[in-house]
């Protein structure tokens, strides 16, 4: 009785000692051979105003601000909390402030951080920084980015916030191994062999700075993307998950991917966040708001062209509009499960024919988001609502209200089951349990306000009960 545990304890001690030795060896190796290549002493090119401007454009494509500018914070001064499986990390100050930002970075150090994931101290960056994608950015573009961040950005003195990750997971050196294993080598940019220059440009933007795969490519259990480019297989951009949003496939699936979406529609989505029949929501809202709306039409066309060239990962039948739902609802037949709830809550905007209104309220009929396997994004949208981004030519930010207080899990499940199976849609049923999962998650951010709503900083409180509050002087010190 007493000896067995002791023997086992002795074995455990041995294992611990062996493991410790291995860990120390691993640590020493990681310290001695950080790898990653690049030359930290490399010099920047002569800076020109055009280059700074180009760098600004590239920084938009890279969507650097999405993470490095906190809501209400100064541009590129960091501080945005990013949830990771091991705890919350905070984006860093990448303004040219020499003390708290990256003002002291040489070009070489900058290049190593962007493309290789190694900071000036030699630490490996958390892969929230998409350096596995940025590895494919050209020297010329990294030079322009450097020029922009050194000369086009206002320096801000703001200390980086320490990550909220508990020891031992807070140790950075094991990341070095992750980087060795999963980050690609930086090498010359490979042009597509097809001779299609537009597709090549699109591929360069999508794979590299655009880092679309960070959300839209599925990840393994070790959290690296299953594919970093079209040559790595059909997993590339076949749909992923990010921040609890389901990122749909950007490949040619006929129902749940881009198979039924035209080049023009894709360009419209990236430029304005909406088209005649659809709109972006969830995580893509910020991408359009801060990044893609700034892309010129040539680059947008290249991206659309490239994405449309990706063959489907799953074979699906094309969706065809089925008039039956509309006929039933229009004739007063709401007997289908969820139909009545749909009429009461959804039809005023999305209409009984499921078509919505162009550039205002998206179509539900034939919407790829409703025809994918995972209904998570739609569930979250119904629960917590959402607001369209400001687009380049579309300043109106239409909102969908939150239904979490009006509808219970079963009702939302019924509505989504109805929506996913009506007008020719072929999404699977949604259960109350599916909804419950998303109801318990934080809605995150302020999805129901426009970007210019002053209440995000000020004293106004939304809602009809705010008058009393607005009447009373608010005392602040």
């Amino acid at each position: 009785m007493y000896t067995r545990p002791r023997r086992r304890g002795g074995g455990l001690l041995r294992i611990i000692v062996v493991l410790s030795v291995l860990v120390i060896i691993a640590w020493v190796i990681a310290m001695l051979f950080p790898g990653g290549g690049g030359d930290a002493t490399a010099k920047a090119q002569e800076v020109t105003p055009d280059q700074v401007k180009q760098g600004e454009y590239l920084a938009r494509i890279g969507d650097c601000a999405a993470c490095h500018t906190a809501p209400g914070g100064k541009a590129f001064a960091g501080g945005l909390p990013i949830a990771s499986p091991i705890g919350t990390i905070y984006s860093t100050n990448i303004t040219p402030d020499p003390d708290t930002g990256i003002g002291h970075y040489t070009y070489g150090q900058f290049e190593r951080a962007v493309r290789r994931g190694i900071d000036a101290q030699g630490h490996t960056l958390y892969p929230a920084m998409p350096y596995p994608s940025f590895a494919k950015v050209s020297d010329q573009d990294v030079q322009a980015l450097y020029a922009f961040f050194m000369h086009g950005v206002q320096p801000v003195k703001q200390e980086d916030r320490a990550a909220g990750i508990a020891w031992p997971l807070s140790m950075r050196w094991p990341l070095t191994y992750w980087r060795w294993l999963f980050a690609p080598k930086v090498g010359p940019i490979q042009s597509a062999a097809t001779g299609d220059a537009t597709a090549a440009r699109g591929q360069y933007l999508v794979e590299g700075l655009g880092h679309c795969g960070a959300c839209h490519t599925p990840r393994t259990f070790t959290l690296h993307e299953k594919a970093l480019g079209p040559n790595d297989g059909h997993a590339y951009l076949s749909g992923g998950e990010s921040d609890n949003w389901i990122a749909p496939s950007l490949r040619g699936e006929l129902a749940s991917g881009l198979g039924g979406v035209s080049d023009e529609e894709l360009m419209g989505l990236l430029k304005n966040g909406r088209t005649e029949r659809s709109a972006v929501f969830g995580g893509m809202t910020d991408v359009v708001q801060h990044s893609t709306q700034y892309l010129n039409d040539e680059d947008l066309a290249a991206i659309a062209h490239f994405l449309k060239s990706l063959p489907p990962n799953r074979q699906e039948q094309a969706l065809t509009y089925d008039e039956a739902t509309h006929t039933a609802l229009a004739s007063g037949n709401a007997s289908a499960k969820g139909a009545r709830l749909y009429i009461d809550n959804c039809a005023t905007c999305h209409r009984t024919d499921g078509h919505g209104y162009g550039q205002v309220f998206p179509s539900l009929a034939g919407n790829p988001v409703l025809n994918g396997e995972n209904a998570g994004s739609a569930i979250r949208l119904v629960l917590h609502g959402g607001t369209m981004p400001q687009g380049r030519d579309a300043p109106t930010q239409f909102s969908m209200p939150a239904f979490r207080e009006r509808l219970n899990n079963q009702q939302i499940a019924d509505i989504l089951t109805f929506v996913r199976s009506s007008w020719g849609n072929r999404g699977e049923a949604v259960s109350a349990q599916d909804v419950a999962h998303y109801r318990d998650l934080s809605p995150g951010g302020q999805p129901l306000m426009t970007g210019y709503d002053p209440r995000q900083q000020g004293p106004d409180t939304p809602g009809p009960d705010a008058d009393d509050q607005s009447a009373q002087p608010v005392t602040t010190k």
Partner: protein, 591 residues
Amino acid sequence: MIRQKPVDVVMIGFGWTAAIMGIELADTGLNILALERGAWRDTSPDFTYPHNADELAYGIRGELFQPLARETVTIRYGVNDTAVPYRQYGSFLLGNNVGGAGIHWNGQHYRPSPEDLVFQSHMAQRYGQKFMPADMQIQDYGVTYDELEPFLEQFEYLCGTSGRAGNLNGEIKEGGNPFEGPRRKEYPNPPVHDNYGASLFANAARSMGYKPFPQPSSNASRPYTNPHGVRLGPCNLCGYCERFGCFMYSKASPQTTILPVLMRKPNFELRTHSHVTKILLDSTGKRATGVTYIDAQGRQVEQPADVVIVSAFQMHNARLMLLSGIGTPYDPVTGKGVIGKNYAYQMMSNVNVFFDKDVAINPFMAAGSGGNVIIDEFNSDHFDHGPHGFVGGGYILGGQTGGRPIQQLLVPPGTPAWGEKWKRAAKDSYLHTTGVQTHGSVMSYRDRYLDLDPTYKDAFGQPLLRITFDWHDNELKMTRFLTDRAQEIANAMKPKQTSQTIRKPGDHYDIRQYQTTHTTGGVIQGVSPETSALNRFQQSWDVHNVFVTGASAFPQNLGYNPTGLIGGLTYMSAKAIRDTYLKHPGPLVQA
């Protein structure tokens, strides 16, 4: 006192006219500041369905209205009476918060008739000066319809107004308003479909030889992108317009037409919870130097500015001018002075039309303005007033603006006000009732004006505005004439029963009954500093860097809803500021 960094332009109140001024002046690069005493409000999250359709909160308790406990107006009938405060909402509804009354309007979007703008000259010429009662003091705007036409059009294209032209470049078009002034372009959107009550009215009116047309409506009949790139949603006829925010993004308001662009201009700033108490003048009294306001923390703030735009609601504009000592206060005894002069209102009447159960009106399918039908034969000077002995007129509307359970549930005459019989009558008539309404003008008179109340003060200790107003015989005659015509059409609709609401001789102005929020005058525009506070560009005759927008500029009230004209006059003023005033600051019209 906190002193803020000077700005180029400060605007007092952030509703329709300030939003228009802001967007029209923003491209000059000037620093523009809007001070709004209320809070920020927007379609989302404030007016989302179903919360927006809470009739008790918005319709009865007035969530969108100015809290009267902090500031109201006082009202009396005559110059020798003592005024008492307007403590509960009744007759008119004062807007509050960003967007002002532009949030809770119905969307009726009219142009004035050409003669409305030169009303005194026109009436005197056609009927002789003696036709007008001696104490009537109607005036010209100093602007003609032709001058204003491009600006009226500009406002319609901003709002995505839905309607059908009746006069395109002088050519009378079938199905539109044949009495309107010529317009260069068709409405930006086709009319909203007639509601059923309105179509019954239209048929009856047509059979009597009238020319019914769809009410011009800033409830967009389809999704619409305006010239700023701002897109509106389509009206879904939910019936919650007046007193409510629109959840469909389809009722034109500053929020749905201008703010998505203006709020992002780096040279534009909005400060909410900023209650302006006074416009500051320099030692000569000829130049404004800025304003003082009380901020959200209750602190006094001085805001220096080169140009002051007084863009609050009509009554507040007049009060602020009086509080700031700009222009001579109006004296009803001598008829001299201009600030507070020519306060006017609107004269409404209703004929409720009850059908049997075989006529399904379904009143819940309605919009604040879209879907209703109008005849304009008896408005402005569209008919010979000679035999009738009154000045002015109004339009007659058929249809309904909603079927809200508390305020829009009509029962036939003779029904008890409560109890089982009322319930049965309500149930029986709800789906089968529509209405015919008249919307009439009110002229301006020597003894109808605005000044500061000697007794009552607001929460900040400043005197309240005092309204001296009651009906004159001219309006009572007008409404009798108009209501008789309305009743004839209602009868021709072959209803089971009708009931009538009309102000009769001997009736006082009753502030408990809602009529309209179309209060006008007090800072009127015109051709001479002797008789008006503002020149044709809405610039103060006395202090050239003060501009006063809104219905406070109307010398008398016309038979139409005011918003279309307000927008047109604001655009005209904005253009004069942008193109002329900023280059050569000074009077735009020599007195």
